[in-house]
């Protein structure tokens, strides 16, 4: 275990060259189309539970008979990068639209993927404020979060792409009430002062909150409902102004018919019902189902006073990403960096 480097410089070099030569021999064959009856689904983390039921129900339909699945779930950004790096995918279903756009740029997804009536959106939810059981701090909306002494947990918008929804909802609620950009920045600055933890992902944030950190957790309605279904002991509030979370999905360019059928099934009434049971807001308004774990199981998805959307209120993800999250000039990036100096 001693740490000495004695070997002459030349000999290892010879080895390195030999190594490089060996490497060139094993270039991999990229891409990968799969058998027609096997569909590779690449999704973001939270879908894992919801998709289990959905896959089973799809296999019961005519289109889905005999279709088998290979699934992979993980952080949305990681999944997108993995597909670019060669992970086999027939269908992708990711938390943020830009993670699908990256695949379009790499020609892995056709550029007309948003042309359908659903505009590429497969599942949706809204940003929710999770509070301790019985809501001891009396949190009703965004303004209560910036009161002195309220401790906020929200996933890190730097390392977790899906955390951007939360921050934009907080920011956008000011705009929704007629405030200026300056007001919104002032609000976000106060908000960040109350943040006590920025865990790496939505899941980590929920774990930290359940471990006792903070008074409120910014999360999504579907995650709050799913956690409560799994026995989590907390309440949640849908603020009057909140942001519609739209998770996008698409088939890849070399996808089989079975993959397309599966995407159609996800968007069907049955598919949306399965997602609704896990807490996602159905795309199809006709879907009516009792949702255990929701605040009011028989009216699980109350309509907020103002529902912001990324396209209508933030100019779409392209613009929002540059304006708010750019590494150097992003409004949120800067406010986050400043929050550290306090």
């Amino acid at each position: 275990m001693s740490i000495t480097w004695k070997t002459a410089a030349v000999r290892p070099l010879v080895g390195v060259v030999a190594g490089l030569v060996a490497l060139t021999g094993c270039a991999t064959a990229g891409g990968g189309s799969s058998k027609s009856d096997e569909v590779s689904v690449v999704g973001f983390s939270i879908l894992k539970t919801a998709n289990e039921q959905l896959l089973k129900d799809f296999q019961k339909t005519d289109a889905g008979k005999g279709v088998t699945f290979k699934t992979s779930y993980g952080a949305s950004g990681d999944q997108s990068r993995a597909v670019i790096a060669g992970l086999d995918a027939d269908e992708v279903h990711l938390s943020l639209e830009p993670d699908v756009t990256k695949l379009v740029d790499e020609k892995l997804v056709a550029d007309d993927w948003k042309s359908g009536p659903n505009k590429g959106v497969v599942t949706q939810s809204v940003v929710a404020i999770v509070v301790r059981k019985g809501n001891p701090k009396g949190i009703k909306g965004w303004d209560d979060l910036v009161k002195p002494g309220v401790k906020i947990v929200t996933p890190n918008p730097g390392s977790s792409g899906s955390a951007k929804w939360n921050i934009l909802a907080a920011y956008g609620h000011v705009l929704a009430q007629g405030g200026s950009e300056k007001d919104a920045q002032a609000y976000l600055s106060k908000f960040l002062d109350n943040v006590v933890a920025l865990p790496g992902s939505g899941k980590d944030a929920t774990t930290a909150f359940q471990g006792g950190t903070g008074d409120v957790l910014l999360s999504y309605e579907n995650e709050a409902i799913e956690a409560r279904q799994a026995g989590a002991d907390f309440d949640y509030v849908i603020p009057d102004q909140t942001l519609l979370i739209q998770n996008t999905g698409a088939v890849t360019t070399d996808a089989s018919k079975a993959a397309k059928d599966f995407l159609d099934f996800q968007l069907s009434k049955q598919g949306q019902t399965d997602y609704a049971k896990q807490g996602f807001r159905p795309l199809d308004k006709a879907v009516k189902v009792d949702i255990p774990g929701a605040n009011n199981p028989s009216d699980p998805f109350p309509t907020p006073k103002t529902l912001l959307t990324i396209d209508k209120d933030f100019g779409g993800w392209d613009e929002a990403n540059t304006k708010y999250f750019d590494e150097e000039t992003g409004i949120v990036t800067k406010l986050l960096a400043e929050s550290g100096k306090a």
Binding site: M1, A18, L23, G158, S159, P199, T207, A208, G211, T213
Partner: protein
């Protein structure tokens, strides 16, 4: 000829696993150019994360040098009930998946601590998590050396009138320093790269408890691989400096013992 073949095979293996990835990191970082590189690593948030990471890893390494050596000493020289068990359990922090380690630390030293110790979302949390995962390194490098150390030399020193402290400092410590240095190097290197065990407890607060690995992740998530590589390059450089410094120090101390 046989040794040349051996060297060839080991160098290929080493290149595939270590050398080529490291060079790839440096090449990616070089894409930024000198000015771009400096912009990334000198931005206040990243600089603060780097500083925190290096300082905490150094602190933890110092702690491990003292506590790790003491633990190894106790495990080799003392006899007590449960010694075998302790010997096995020492590796657990290293063997646990780091996120599990994080969960354990959060439940023990977080807001719901049964011990009444809450360090969540403070720099102490970073220190604690690093100390937890790096505990075995010094113990495991020092222990075997201590086991093979002959009692004769110590007895000789004592019979010549050396005090126990002098014996330890002049006879035992010089034999242990290479092992301690090796353990310290491992412990430091692990410390500056740690992510999983501390993210739940540290809170990742920019400028306060955010470590370098979280900055790397942030850059990757936002599509700037080069910036991530720049932070990684700094960590590599720091690790290299510390390892070389430890080697120099270790040689000097060992020589003084002769």
């Amino acid at each position: 000829m046989g040794s040349a073949l051996g060297l060839g095979i080991t160098m290929i293996w080493f290149s595939l696993l270590v050398l080529i990835p490291l060079v790839a990191v440096l090449i990616a970082a070089a894409d930024l150019g000198l000015a771009g590189f400096w912009d990334v690593v000198s931005s206040p948030q990243t600089a603060a994360a780097l500083r925190l990471t290096v300082v905490q890893a150094l602190g933890v390494t110092l702690l491990n040098v003292v506590m790790g050596t003491a633990l190894a000493w106790v495990l080799v020289r003392d006899h007590f009930w449960g010694k075998r068990l302790l010997d096995v359990v020492i590796d657990v922090p290293f063997a646990l998946p780091t996120i599990v380690a994080g969960l354990v630390l959060l439940s023990l030293y977080g807001p719901n601590s049964p011990l009444g110790v809450n360090v969540a979302n403070t720099r102490t949390a970073v220190f604690l998590a690093l100390a937890f995962v790096t505990l075995p390194f010094v113990v495991r490098t020092v222990q075997p050396v201590l086991e093979t150390l002959e009692h004769d030399t110590e007895e000789a020193a004592a019979s010549l009138g050396a005090s126990r402290f002098t014996t330890f400092r002049r006879v035992i410590l010089p034999s242990l320093t290479p092992a301690i240095a090796a353990g310290a190097a491992l412990s430091f290197a692990r410390g500056i790269s740690e992510y999983g065990s501390l993210v739940l407890l540290s809170g990742n607060l920019p400028g306060r408890t955010e470590v370098a690995s979280v900055r790397v992740l942030t850059y990757i998530e936002n599509g700037s691989k080069e910036a991530a590589a720049a932070v990684a390059a700094i960590l590599l450089l720091v690790a290299l400096l510390v390892i070389v410094a430890l080697d120099v120090l270790q040689r000097r101390l060992a020589r003084r013992g002769d």
